[in-house]
Amino acid sequence: MTLVKVKVDEAVVGQIFREEYGRSVATLIRAFGDIDFAEDVVQEAFAVALDRWTSDGLPPNPGAWITTTARNRAIDRLRRAARGRELERDAGSFDQTDDESQETGPVLDDRLRLIFTCCHPALSTEAQIALTLRLLGGLTTADVASAFFVPEATMAKRLVRAKHKIKAARIPYRVPTDAEMVDRLGTVLAVLYLIYNAGSAGPAGADLRQEAIRLTRIIASLMPDEPEITGLLALLLLSESRQAARFDVDGSLIRLADQDRAQWDRALIDEGHALLRACLRRDHPGPYQLQAAINAVHSDARSIEATDWPQIVGLYDHLLEVSPTPVVALNRAIAVGEVRGPAAALALVDHLELDGYYLLHATRADLLCRLARTDDAAHAYALAAGLAPSTAERSFLEARLAEMQASGSPQQRRR
């Protein structure tokens, strides 16, 4: 066998770490039934790898090398330490009936077990997100903490508590049965989407967005028969395709109507469309497939005016049926505004109970502005800016307000 000599440095090992960490940890958790123990030995294996690979070059299958090394370390530790017997006895928070000697090729990828454990409904949403990023994504506690703007100590405590609950309450390490699958999968998809959205408030969230896409790709490849996972992947890729066009050089937000569509990433759009066609063929459209379809219609249009708004309204009607939330109703109202005008949209928006949601007020402001009700619009912009979750969104709204007041007259038709 000829080995390709690759120059191995910390960056290469870091790349492999991101790709293989989750898989190795998932396998070691199944083998030894303990999350902390699995994380420890996998991290040790990577430390050994950094040392050895930089001098000897990459092994043919780095992921398997890490898993084997981690497993050997684990067995050494258990044999060596007097604590071994104790750990072996206590470790049984997870089922250990699987054959441990099997290194590769288990029927089921352990990462699938791991994501369902991380996203178990008995854990809080914050804990689900943190565990998923830490255990499957291999992000450090500090990285997860800074992504969610909490102190590292807070995030560390959150992870410790969540892992303790998994152990103490015996949250199982397995893929749910068919009967539970719809609900449980819904939680997994929601967590992945939340991770993506947490990264989409500004250009700095690229790592979170990429991680969400990477994990969704893995889950989609492991569960090819679930169209909603493919739908979510399509939705993420189509959203990502617009990312470069969503922010100005100074980091401020650019509306869909004003985005330079030449900056949209055609490769991502094409992949998103292909995935969407594949899952829609199953004729089982759920909320993620429908949201992806709405995004696909946008990505087909050369401009905001050339958008097939009636089709978008139709998709929102469908989405509202499967997911009757006020936020969906708000987005539907915006689309209705494009077909039947701002007055029709405003009538719909004013019925919604979403007072604490900044986009409700931002939408009202835009509609009022288009109806030449400048004072009401100014009031709504101020409300929206006060509620906006990020600086980028707040300064965008303040700029819109200033723009409207400076022009002194009602805006042109704008969204």
Binding site: H120, A168, A169, R170, I171, P176
Partner: protein, 119 residues
């Protein structure tokens, strides 16, 4: 196997539609069936229904002396009306029993693992 406490909570003053005799009979029959099922699968360890919290008495030790006072320990709107202790292989199995009981009694159930397994 681990043991879980399934505590059935009620909210004081939150009286649902008063149950008719027939409904009450039906509920207790259904509950009886669930308990039979728990026993036949080896999940049942203990269960009981409690009197209202105004029948509770609190004992505490203060400087070596036991002090007895009237009333529940925490004055709260919610209180435990009854409980089950079940043995289950994992949380999902315990949640499965809790789902059956809550569907029958219409009250929320808190599922909490016992620490340690030896008793």
């Amino acid at each position: 196997m681990a043991k879980y406490l399934l505590s059935v909570h009620t909210v004081e003053g939150e009286v649902a539609e008063p149950m008719t005799e027939a409904q009450m009979k039906q509920t207790s029959e259904q509950l009886g069936k669930i308990e039979e099922q728990m026993k036949s699968t080896g999940a049942w360890f203990f269960s009981g229904r409690l009197h209202d919290p105004d029948t509770a008495t609190v004992v505490r030790s203060s400087q070596g002396v036991s002090v007895t006072t009237d009333g529940p320990f925490v004055e709260a709107k919610e209180h435990v009306a009854g409980f089950y202790i079940v043995e289950a292989p994992d949380l999902d199995a315990a949640l499965g029993w809790a789902s059956k009981v809550t569907a029958c009694v219409g009250k929320p159930i808190e599922v909490r693992p016992f620490s340690g397994t030896a008793y």
